[in-house]
């Protein structure tokens, strides 16, 4: 069931259950208190009637009323109230209610609306007296003798109970007689039913309001989660620019939203970078393809001389070479990015490698009248000699390329602590401060033109190679005095 999986519904159900338990607890307690109050009120009424009966029982009337059935008084010393109990057969006791008390137990008397009645039995269950208004055929009343004869409670103890519509009070007197007092409990029961109904009604209304309030509260508490979920859905659909609206930054969900937002921002940046790289790569390929298309379409539009065809083919060759270089660089970068390019970890003669690179660049330098000064003492490097040679060649070629005519290039290497410092500096115009932070970015060129024959990936590849060796590459600009690229490499095997 989906409804039980929703946090909102589950919270609501739990909340409802707790509310029901609390309300039921309160309601039940209130009902019990009311019950006790009613019972106590009746019991007070019982008390003075009982006292009355006990008095009447132990102080028989005397005087001219001798024509009534006299109490069969036991001889002195054998009075039932002070004689030892359970000693021989109980004498039969005549009991007469004083005339002023007759109305108190009269069924129709106006001063007995509660229909108080009584039964007095002797210890062995013989009935001594009974008021006229004892209801007939009430088994609870008739089983009164069972209580004091069979259960044999301690003399002097009493019990109160509600049976059906009757409240009863049974007592075993110390003198041996048992008194049952009963009265109608119907009006009280009616009142208690009304109280129960009222409590249920009020509880129901409170429950209803509570549930509605709870629903609103849960809804508000859940709202940020729904916002987060809605935003996440949009993002998974491809719109990375979406952000969660963080209204309460301090709350737990607000913090979660902030964390998610910053994650989304980084994701977006990574995607944008990737997209930029792909688009730049495509862009770089467009120009050579344009050259080839235009060249071939022009050449094929009419008959050409052999020399013209040759020219076209040469232009196409140049464009193809450029594309080849670009594709190789892109693949290399992709491999370096993916960490697939395993760097060898070998000791090699760094100064010799640097010398080889200088020799490689010398023709280009000679062409531009640039002098290369070397400060290369014998230093051993550690890593992939071939890859590091690529870095050095690239730095040297850049230094020559972006130098002024008849400028100078300096290359130096030295061991400093556990690091090797390799620096290549030129005497060119330097890099503008605007371009400086971007020189290691892919396809970034200070010069917007694409005709330099460079791919715009050289420094990016160099950086990737140096970093794969656990080193760093930095650029230092001295305005007007040229640029220095410094490569710092670990001189020994690093603990990895």
């Amino acid at each position: 069931m989906k409804i039980f999986k929703s946090i909102k519904w589950r919270l609501q159900i739990w909340y409802g259950l707790i509310l029901v338990v609390v309300l039921a607890g309160f309601g039940f307690t209130a009902y019990l208190l009311e019950w006790g109050r009613q019972v106590q009120r009746i019991d007070v009424q019982f008390q003075w009637r009982r006292d009355f009966l006990v008095n009447a029982l132990h102080r028989p009337p005397r005087g001219p009323n001798q024509n009534r059935m006299p109490f069969d008084r036991p001889p002195p010393g054998q009075a039932p109230d002070d004689g030892p109990l359970g000693q021989g057969p109980q004498p039969s006791i005549e009991f007469h209610l004083p005339p002023q008390a007759v109305g108190v137990f009269d069924a129709d008397a106006p001063n007995n609306p509660e229909k108080f009645c009584f039964i007095i039995q002797s210890r062995d269950g013989r009935e001594i007296a009974r008021s006229a208004n004892v209801p007939n055929q009430v088994p609870e009343i008739e089983s009164f003798s069972v209580w004091h004869v069979k259960q044999a409670p301690t003399p002097g103890s009493w019990e109160g109970m509600v049976n059906g519509n009757m409240r009863e009070r049974v007592e075993l007197l110390p003198s041996g007689e048992a008194i049952l007092l009963a009265c109608s409990f119907a009006p009280e029961l009616k009142e208690l039913r009304f109280v129960a109904l009222t409590l249920t009604g009020v509880g129901g209304v409170i429950l209803l309001f509570g549930m509605a309030g709870g629903w609103l509260l849960v809804g508000r508490a859940i709202q940020p989660i729904e916002d987060i979920s809605a935003t996440a859905v949009k993002i998974s659909a491809g719109d990375l620019s979406q952000r969660i609206n963080v209204a309460e930054a301090e709350s737990e969900l607000g913090q979660l939203a902030s964390v998610l937002n910053s994650t989304f921002a980084r994701l977006e940046a990574a995607f944008a970078q990737q997209q930029q790289f792909t688009s730049d790569a495509a862009h770089e390929l467009r120009t050579p393809v344009s050259v080839m298309l235009t060249q071939t379409q022009t050449a094929l539009s009419r008959e050409r001389s052999g020399a013209e065809y040759r020219e076209t083919l040469e232009a196409c060759q140049r464009a193809s070479q450029r594309m080849r270089k670009l594709i190789e660089s892109l693949l290399e970068l992709a491999r370096l990015d993916a960490g697939q390019e395993q760097m060898k970890r070998l000791k090699f003669d760094l100064s010799q490698t640097a010398w080889d690179c200088v020799e490689l660049v010398r023709p280009l330098a000679a062409q531009r009248g640039v002098k290369i000064h070397c400060d290369l003492p014998a230093v051993d490097g550690y890593g992939d000699a071939e890859r590091l040679a690529q870095v050095i060649t690239n730095l040297l070629a850049n230094a020559v390329q972006y130098n002024q005519a008849n400028g100078e290039v300096r290359i130096s290497a030295k061991l400093q602590g556990s690091m090797i410092l390799l620096a290549v500096s030129d005497t060119g115009p330097g890099i503008s401060s605007e371009d400086l932070p971007h020189v290691f970015e892919r396809f970034y060129r200070a010069d917007q033109s694409r005709s330099s024959g460079q791919t715009g990936l050289g420094l990016a590849i160099s950086k990737a190679i140096v970093e794969a060796h656990g080193g760093t590459i930095e650029v230092l600009n001295q305005p007007g005095a040229g640029t220095t690229f410094t490569v710092v490499l670990p001189a020994t095997q690093e603990p990895t």
Binding site: S279, H283, E284, R286, T287, V289, S290, V291, M292, L293, T294, Q295, Q297, T298, S301, R302, T312, A315, R318, A319, D447, Q448, S449, R450, S451
Partner: protein
């Protein structure tokens, strides 16, 4: 028709210039932004093919500076193909936009359309009396019979036809029919005019002495 190409990739520039010359255009070239802007401001080109990525001054800058003085139709040529780049190009004042790599026939068609629009012409066919000029096919018929014209003669007829009803000065004709590599001998234009008159009728082009030439409506 005289066209300026501003493009920094030398092979592309050379082949574009060659292709357009073979299409009968007079073509000037510039391989950087500064030269391009200088040329564009100095002559009334019929159209400019402008690359965006250029050394010294980029295409956007050239365009916005040029638009302060001239309404020359500009076709931007760029490797950037995102819609915001195209929007930027058109909003800066470019009349058309092509993404590299492009097809030459399409470039030609777009240039023809640019030139036609700048002359307030809606179709490729211009009819003057019984002479019909098809600027797309670059041919001319007179009373439904094809007329053989040299490229230069055709360019002269097309330019005058696009500006028919106006007097076109000799200077204008020189500027639009010859590029900076042509030797502009003063009588070269007269030779072309006289040849056209032989082929399309003496009254096709009228001479306004002291002003220039004109094709009547």
């Amino acid at each position: 028709m005289r066209i300026l190409i501003v493009e920094d990739e030398p092979d592309l520039l050379r082949s574009l210039a060659q292709a357009l010359r073979e299409e009968g255009y007079a073509v000037d070239t510039a391989n950087n932004g500064e030269d391009g802007l200088f040329n564009a401001e100095s002559y009334d080109y019929d159209a400019i093919v402008l690359d965006v990525m250029l050394p010294k001054l980029d295409g956007w800058e050239i365009l916005s500076r040029l638009r302060k003085t001239k309404k020359t139709p500009v076709l931007m040529l760029t490797a950037r193909d995102q819609s915001r780049d195209r929007v930027r190009g058109l909003d800066t004042g470019a009349d058309d936009y092509m993404v590299k790599p492009f097809d030459l026939p399409e470039l030609f068609a777009r240039l023809r359309a640019l030139i036609r629009r700048s002359a307030n012409q809606t179709t490729n066919i211009i009819e003057i009396g019984n002479v019909k000029i098809d600027t797309a096919a670059r041919n001319v018929t007179r009373a439904d019979a094809p007329v053989e014209l040299t490229a230069r003669e055709y360019a002269l007829v097309e330019f005058l036809a696009l500006h028919r009803g106006e007097v076109v000065t000799r200077t204008q004709l020189y500027e639009h029919l010859f590029d900076e590599n042509d030797s502009t001998l003063s009588n070269l234009l007269d030779v072309h005019v006289s040849n056209v008159r032989k082929k399309l009728g003496a009254e096709f082009i009228t001479t306004r002495r002291g002003h220039g030439y004109c094709i009547e409506q």
